[in-house]
C-alpha cells in the first residue's frame, strides 16, 4: 500500500492537472468513489486496533477534507473557465445601433397650454371652454362692441355662411377672441368668478406674425373687490412664473378694448439684438398682452350688477408665448405639420408641467 502522504500528493497532483470537469469527476471517483484509493484506506481501518484506528482515522480524515476542498476549488475554477469561453464565443458588437423607436412629441401650443393652466391654477383659476363658431351676441354685442363700432374693424372677422338661411347674414362668425367665453361663463355662473379660457381664435390675416388661426388665453376675474392693482399683481406673478425669472421689468400702457375700461397693454422688458431676443432686463420692451377692468356694459349684458361687482380681464397669445419662451421664429410654421419642425420644437410626452415639478419643457435629444 502506498503511503498516505503519497496518496494525498498524487490525488492533489491529479486534481490540479485535470483539464475539464469530466476529468475531474473521473479523478474524484478514483479517489473518493466506492473503490477509490482513499475509500480503500478507510475500509482498512476496521482491521486496526482501537489506538491505531483513532490515529490513522484522524489522518485519513484530514486528507479527505484537503482533497475534497481541492476538488471544489478546481471545479469552480474549471466552471468559471468554461463559462468565460462560452461568453467569449457569444460576443456581439454592442456599438451597433439600437432598434428604431418612433418618438412622439407634444406640440408647443399644448405645452404652453399646460404651463399657463398650471400657473393660473395656482392662483385659483379654473379653465372654461366655449365654441369656436360664435354668434354676434357673444363675440361682439355682449362685449360692448355693437354693429358699426370701429373696433370691429380692428380685427378682420371670418363670417360663417349660415346653413339655415339662403342669403348672406352675419349671424355666425368664428370667434375673433376667446373673450366670448367670458360671456358664456357669466351667463352660467354668478360671481365670484376666476377663469381662464384658452382656445383657437380666428382673424383674416396672414404673415410671419399673423395666421388666420391662432391661440389665445382669456382671463376673467369678477368679484366684489378685485382692483386694477390686483390685475397688475396677477399678471406680474404670471410672467415671472412663466418665464421663470426672479424679476422681470414690466410696464403698462393705457390702451383701448371695447370690453374693458380702463384698458392697458402690458410690455415686458427684453434685450433685442439682430439675432436674439432675451426676455428680462434690457433696453427694449415687448408687448405681451392686453388687459383691463371689465367694462360695466359687459357685466350688464350678463345680468351682473356693475355697482356691486367688478373685476378684470386679459387676453394673451399662446403661440406668441411659445415663440418667446422657446425661441420659435415664425408663427406660420406652428401649423404646417412638418415632421422635422415637430420633432425639433415638440416636447417629450412625459415631460409634464406643474408648479411643483417645474414648468419648462425639455425637447430631449432627437433620435
Amino acid at each position: 500500500m502506498e503511503s498516505l502522504e503519497n496518496l494525498k500528493n498524487n490525488a492533489l497532483g491529479q486534481i490540479s492537472q485535470a483539464a475539464d470537469i469530466k476529468a475531474l469527476d473521473d479523478i474524484k471517483v478514483a479517489v473518493l468513489g466506492k473503490k477509490g484509493s482513499l475509500t480503500e484506506q478507510m475500509k482498512g481501518l476496521a482491521a486496526l486496533s482501537l489506538e491505531e484506528k483513532k490515529q490513522k482515522g484522524q489522518e485519513l480524515n484530514q486528507i479527505k477534507v484537503a482533497i475534497e476542498a481541492a476538488f471544489e476549488d478546481k471545479r469552480e475554477a474549471l466552471a468559471s473557465a468554461e463559462m468565460n469561453a462560452k461568453l467569449a464565443a457569444e460576443t456581439i458588437d454592442v456599438t451597433l445601433p439600437i432598434r428604431d423607436e418612433v418618438q412622439g412629441r407634444i406640440h408647443p401650443v399644448s405645452k404652453i397650454y399646460e404651463e399657463v393652466a398650471a400657473i393660473f391654477g395656482e392662483m385659483g383659476f379654473e379653465i372654461a371652454d366655449g365654441p369656436d363658431i360664435e354668434d354676434q351676441f357673444h363675440n361682439f354685442n355682449a362685449l360692448n362692441t355693437p354693429a358699426n363700432h370701429p373696433a370691429r374693424q380692428m380685427q378682420d372677422t371670418f363670417y360663417i355662411t349660415n346653413p339655415e338661411s339662403a342669403n348672406f347674414d352675419d349671424s355666425f362668425v368664428v370667434r375673433t377672441q376667446t373673450s366670448a367665453v367670458q360671456i358664456r361663463t357669466m351667463e352660467k355662473k354668478q360671481p365670484p368668478i376666476r377663469i381662464i379660457a384658452p382656445g383657437r381664435t380666428y382673424r383674416s390675416d396672414y404673415d410671419a406674425t399673423h395666421t388666420p388661426m391662432f391661440h389665445q388665453v382669456e382671463g376673467l376675474v369678477v368679484d366684489k373687490k378685485t382692483t386694477f392693482a390686483n390685475l397688475k399683481g396677477c399678471l406680474y406673478d404670471f410672467v415671472k412664473a412663466f418665464f421663470e425669472l426672479d424679476d422681470i421689468p414690466v410696464r403698462y400702457r393705457p390702451s383701448y378694448f371695447p370690453f374693458t375700461e380702463p384698458s392697458a397693454e402690458m410690455d415686458i422688458g427684453c434685450k433685442k439684438s439682430k439675432t436674439e431676443l432675451k426676455i428680462g432686463a434690457g433696453n427694449d420692451w415687448l408687448e405681451i398682452l392686453g388687459c383691463g377692468m371689465v367694462h360695466p356694459n359687459v357685466l350688464k349684458a350678463c345680468n351682473i350688477d356693475p355697482d356691486e361687482y367688478q373685476g378684470f380681464a386679459f387676453g394673451l397669445g399662446l403661440d406668441r408665448l411659445a415663440m418667446l419662451k422657446y425661441g420659435i421664429p415664425d408663427l406660420r410654421t406652428f401649423f404646417e405639420s412638418d415632421v422635422r419642425w415637430l420633432k425639433h420644437y415638440g416636447f417629450l410626452p412625459l415631460d409634464l408641467s406643474s408648479m411643483t415639478g417645474g414648468l419648462s419643457g425639455q425637447g430631449g435629444s432627437a433620435r
Binding site: P97, R99, D100, V102, Q103, G104, I106, V109, S110, F120, G121, M123, G124, F125, E126, I127, D129, P131, D132, I133, N148, P150, M154, Y159, I160, N162, P163, R184, R200, S204, Y206, P212, M213, T227, F228, A229, N230, K232, G233, C234, Y252, R253, P254, S255, Y256, E261, P262, S263, M293, F334, E336, S337, D338, V339, R340, L342, G346, L348, L350, L352
Partner: protein
C-alpha cells in the same frame, strides 16, 4: 397717425426732448410705434471741402472739383454756378441714395471726365427747396460730419390712436393730451370770424338731419389754385406721407391732420344748382375721385347738386366736381355726419379715407363753423379770393355728456387713493368743466371727446394721467384652496395627447378650416360649414374631420422626402354653427414603415392594427369602457371598405380606424398606403363624479393558471372578435384570458374556411385543476364555439 416735432410745437409750448415726448405719449395711451429721423437714415453723405476748382475742357459751365471728405480727395464734375475753392458743402458719395432723383449716385463720366460723387443742392437731400446752386456751409464747418450732425431734422412721430381717442387724430388733440400730462402748455388757438363779403350763391338743404345734423358751406370766389403750397405745409404733409397736390387739397388734408376736422372743397363752377344732402336712391351711381364707380344703396348719404351725387358724405369726394389747377371759384364744406351711417357705407363699399376714419370715430360736433373759418383763412392767405357769408344748414346745438366720478370709487377700482383735488386738476386740463358736489365730482365733457359715457370713463382718464406704472401691484388673494383647474373632459384630452405622443406620434396643430374640395369626401352630413370670406379657397370650409388637414400634412412631408409619418392632432371637428355642434376629436395618421432600413431587419409596413392600437390606447387613456366597446365594420366611405372598423358604445361611435381609401388618398396626391384613426372623445362617457375613487378589490388566486391551445375551423367570414368573445364567455370565472395565436387560410384548408388557433388561460380559484376540470372547461368552449360560430375543433 403721424406728425412732426415742429408741427406738434405749433400747438404745444414745450422744451421736452424727443425721447421725453415719446415716452410720455406711450404712457398716456398714445403708443409710439416709431420716431423717424429722416436724415439719420440717409447714408453716404458728409460735409466736404472743395480744395480745387478747374474748368472742364469740353464745357463752358462745368467744373472739375477736387473734394476733400477727410479721408480722400475725390474728383467730381459739377455744373453749379456757385462753386469756389475752399467752399464747404455736402458731398454725396458713390452709392448714396438721392430722394429727389429716386436713384443712387454712380461713378460717371461727364464729357470724358470721370466723376466720383456729387455736391448736393438743398432740394436734392430734402433739407430745403433751393436748387440755384450747391449748399454752402460756413467755412468753419468740420469735414466728415453726417447729415444728421449738420441739420436739425424734424423728427416724425408715428403713433397708434385707439378708436376711442378720435380727437388725437389731429395734432392739436395730441398736444392737449401731452399738456394735460404736464409736458408743456397748450398754445391758445384763436380762430377769427371772417366776415362774408356776399351771400353764397349756392344754398344748402339737408333732407336727412339724422345723418347730417350740421352742414356749413362757404362760397369763395377768385382763388388761385396754381399758387404754391407754402413750404412749411408741404414739408409737414410730405413728412407724414401725403403728397402735395394743390393748395386747396393740401389745405383740407392739413386741417384734417391738424385739427381732426375733415373738410371738402367743390369746384363751384362745376356744381349745378344748390347742394342737397340726401340719401342715395338704390342703384344711384357715383364716381369717386379715385375714379371708381359705385352703385349706391338707399342708406348711403350723398352730397348732391342738380346732376346727382357729387360727394359720398364724409367718405370721399367725386371726380366730376372736384378742384383742378384751373379752379377759381370754390364751395367749401365743413359738416357733421352720423358715425354709424359713415361706418356702414364705408364698409359696404369698402372705401377707406382719412375722412371716413375720423367721422366714424368722432368729429367734434362744434367744430363745423370754426373749421370753416380756419380753412377760409388759409385759403385766402394762400390762394387769395373773397369769401361769402357762411351758408349753414342745421345747427351746432350739441349737449355734452355730464357725468360724475367719486374719489371713493377710484380707490375701490384701482386700489390706491387719488386726492379729489388731483382728480379735478386732471379733468380740467383735459378740457372737462368740473364742479364738486359732496362726494361726487361732476364733469362736463369737452365736445371733442365722444368716448365719455360714465364714471368708468372718467376713472380711465384719471388712471391714464397718474400713470398705470404708479399703481402698485398686489398679488391675487388666495381666499380659498384652489379647485382642480382643468375640467374632467379637458384633463382627459391632455392625457390622450400625452398617451398618443408616448406611442410615437408627433402632435400637430392644424387649421380649423380646410379645403372644401378635399373636405367633401369626409363630411358626415351633406351640409358643409363654409366661411363666407376665407383667406383662400383652400381654407374655406370648417373641417368635418381632422383627417383632411392631417393628410395634407402627410402629402407635404412625403414631398419633403419624409415618408415614414406618424402624426396626430386633438381638436374640434364641425357639423353646425351652434354650441354643441363641434366635437373634440383625437385623430392620427401613420404611413410608411415602422422604421427606416435597419440591420435587425424588423421594420415592417404600418398597417391597420397600428391604427387600431392607437385608437384603443386613446380610448383607454380617456378612461373609456374598453371592454364593452363593440367593433362594427361600417367605418365611413373614406376608409378602405375591407380594412376598417368602428368602435361603438351602444349606438355611439367612439372611434373609427383603418386603412384609408386609395381613391380618397389619390385626391390628395398620396400614392402610399395610409392608416388612420379618429377617436370621438365627446362620445366617451365621463367618469361619474361620485367622489369614490376606490378601485375594485384585487382578487388574487393562490393557484397557478394553466394555458391550453385550441384550434377551430370556421367560415372565413366569422369575425375573430366573435370567436374571442364566445370563448371568454364560455366560463367567465375560470377563463381569464383568450388570445389568438394563429390564423390560417389557404392550402390544406377547405375553400371559404379558416383555422383560428386560441390560447386559453384557465385560472383555478379554490383548488388546483385536475385534468378532468380542464377537459370540462375546454369542452364548454368547444360547445359554445360550435353553437355560436359554427366552429369545428381541429384535432390536436
Amino acid at each position: 397717425m403721424k406728425f412732426t416735432l415742429s408741427w406738434l410745437k405749433e400747438h404745444l409750448d414745450t422744451s421736452a426732448s424727443v425721447d421725453e415726448i415719446s415716452e410720455t405719449l406711450t404712457k398716456i395711451g398714445l403708443e409710439v410705434e416709431e420716431v423717424i429721423n429722416p436724415l439719420a437714415d440717409m447714408e453716404g453723405f458728409c460735409t466736404a471741402r472743395i480744395e480745387e476748382v478747374s474748368d472742364h475742357p469740353d464745357s463752358d459751365h462745368l467744373h472739375i472739383l477736387k473734394v476733400n471728405d477727410g479721408k480722400e480727395i475725390l474728383q467730381i464734375v459739377c455744373g453749379a454756378p456757385n462753386v469756389k475753392k475752399g467752399m464747404m458743402g455736402i458731398l454725396a458719395h458713390v452709392g448714396a441714395y438721392i430722394p429727389l432723383f429716386n436713384d443712387k449716385i454712380k461713378v460717371g463720366k461727364v464729357r470724358g471726365v470721370e466723376s466720383f460723387g456729387m455736391m448736393c443742392a438743398e432740394d436734392e437731400i430734402g433739407v430745403g427747396s433751393d436748387h440755384e446752386g450747391i449748399i454752402e456751409l460756413p467755412a468753419t464747418a468740420e469735414i466728415g460730419l453726417s447729415l444728421a450732425q449738420v441739420y436739425a431734422a424734424d423728427p416724425v412721430f408715428d403713433i397708434n390712436i385707439t378708436p376711442n381717442r378720435a380727437e388725437c387724430l389731429g395734432v392739436r388733440g395730441v398736444a392737449r393730451d401731452l399738456a394735460a400730462a404736464g409736458l408743456g402748455k397748450l398754445k391758445p388757438l384763436e380762430i377769427k370770424k371772417i366776415a362774408g363779403k356776399f351771400v353764397s350763391p349756392i344754398k344748402v338743404k339737408v333732407e336727412d338731419k339724422k345723418s347730417c345734423p350740421t352742414y356749413v358751406g362757404r362760397y369763395i370766389k377768385g382763388v388761385n389754385n396754381k399758387a404754391k403750397t407754402p413750404d412749411w405745409m408741404k414739408k409737414r404733409l410730405e413728412a407724414i406721407g401725403l403728397r402735395s397736390i394743390s393748395p386747396l387739397v393740401d389745405i383740407t388734408n392739413y386741417i384734417n391732420y391738424d385739427m381732426a376736422r375733415p373738410l371738402h372743397v367743390f369746384d363751384a363752377d362745376k356744381l349745378k344748382g344748390n347742394i342737397c344732402v340726401r340719401m342715395a336712391k338704390d342703384g344711384e351711381g357715383f364716381e369717386s375721385l379715385e375714379e371708381k364707380v359705385y352703385n349706391l344703396d338707399n342708406q348711403s348719404l350723398g352730397i348732391c347738386d342738380d346732376e346727382g351725387i357729387q360727394c359720398l358724405g364724409g367718405i370721399m369726394g367725386g371726380i366730376a366736381k372736384g378742384c383742378s389747377a384751373d379752379t377759381t371759384n370754390v364751395f367749401l364744406e365743413s359738416a357733421l355726419f352720423n358715425p354709424v351711417c359713415i361706418a356702414r357705407t364705408g364698409r359696404k363699399f369698402q372705401i377707406d379715407s382719412d375722412s371716413r376714419y375720423r367721422y366714424e370715430r368722432w368729429v367734434d360736433p362744434c367744430s363745423n363753423i370754426s373749421g370753416a373759418e380756419y380753412a377760409t383763412k388759409m385759403i385766402l392767405d394762400i390762394c387769395g379770393g373773397e369769401a361769402s357769408e357762411l351758408e349753414i344748414a342745421g345747427d351746432e346745438n350739441y349737449t355734452p355728456v355730464k357725468t360724475f366720478i367719486r374719489p371713493q370709487r377710484v380707490k375701490d377700482f384701482i386700489g390706491i387713493e387719488v386726492a379729489p383735488s388731483k382728480i379735478v386738476e386732471i379733468l380740467e386740463r383735459l378740457g372737462f368743466k368740473v364742479e364738486t358736489q359732496e362726494d361726487k365730482i361732476w364733469a362736463t365733457s369737452p365736445t371733442w371727446r365722444g368716448d365719455i359715457e360714465g364714471e368708468h370713463d372718467l376713472v380711465e382718464e384719471v388712471v391714464r394721467m397718474i400713470g398705470l406704472d404708479n399703481i402698485p401691484a398686489a398679488s391675487m388673494e388666495k381666499g380659498y384652496f384652489p379647485k382642480q383647474t382643468l375640467t374632467a373632459s379637458q384633463r382627459r384630452t391632455v392625457t390622450v395627447k400625452h398617451e398618443l405622443a408616448a406611442r410615437g406620434l408627433l402632435e400637430t396643430v392644424t387649421w380649423s378650416f380646410t379645403d372644401g374640395k378635399l373636405a367633401k369626401y369626409f363630411r358626415r352630413s351633406d351640409k358643409a360649414i363654409e366661411i363666407c370670406n376665407p383667406i383662400t379657397e383652400e381654407l374655406g370650409e370648417m373641417r368635418p374631420s381632422l383627417l383632411v388637414n392631417l393628410l395634407i400634412g402627410v402629402k407635404n412631408n412625403i414631398a419633403r422626402g419624409y415618408g415614414n409619418i406618424n402624426l396626430f392632432e386633438c381638436g374640434p371637428e364641425f357639423f353646425g354653427c351652434h354650441p354643441g355642434e363641434q366635437k373634440m376629436i383625437a385623430a392620427g395618421v401613420r404611413c410608411g414603415q415602422t422604421s427606416k432600413k435597419h440591420w435587425l431587419k424588423e421594420n415592417r409596413n404600418m398597417d391597420v392594427f397600428d391604427a387600431k392600437a392607437d385608437a384603443l390606447a386613446a380610448i383607454a387613456a380617456a378612461n373609456g369602457p374598453f371592454d364593452s366597446a363593440k367593433i362594427s365594420l361600417d367605418a365611413p366611405a373614406y376608409y378602405h371598405p375591407g380594412r376598417s372598423g368602428a368602435l361603438r358604445l351602444g349606438a355611439n361611435v367612439i372611434a373609427y380606424f383603418g386603412e384609408l381609401h386609395p381613391i380618397v388618398l389619390k385626391k390628395f396626391g398620396i400614392k402610399q398606403r395610409v392608416v388612420a384613426f379618429e377617436v370621438m372623445l365627446d362620445n366617451i362617457p365621463l367618469p361619474r363624479n361620485s367622489g369614490d375613487k376606490a378601485k375594485k378589490k384585487l382578487e388574487l388566486s393562490a393557484f397557478q393558471p394553466v394555458d391550453k391551445d385550441m384550434a377551430f375551423i370556421v367560415d372565413a367570414s366569422v369575425k375573430a372578435d366573435d370567436i374571442l368573445a364566445v370563448a371568454r364567455n364560455a366560463d367567465k370565472r375560470y377563463i381569464t384570458d383568450v388570445r389568438i395565436f394563429d390564423v390560417y387560410e389557404g392550402e390544406n384548408m377547405e375553400k371559404g374556411k379558416k383555422s383560428v388557433a386560441l390560447t386559453l388561460t384557465f385560472q383555478p380559484w379554490e383548488t388546483s385543476f385536475t385534468d378532468k376540470d380542464i377537459e370540462t372547461l375546454m369542452s364548454k368552449v368547444e360547445q359554445a364555439e360550435k353553437s355560436k360560430c359554427n366552429a369545428i375543433l381541429r384535432d390536436a
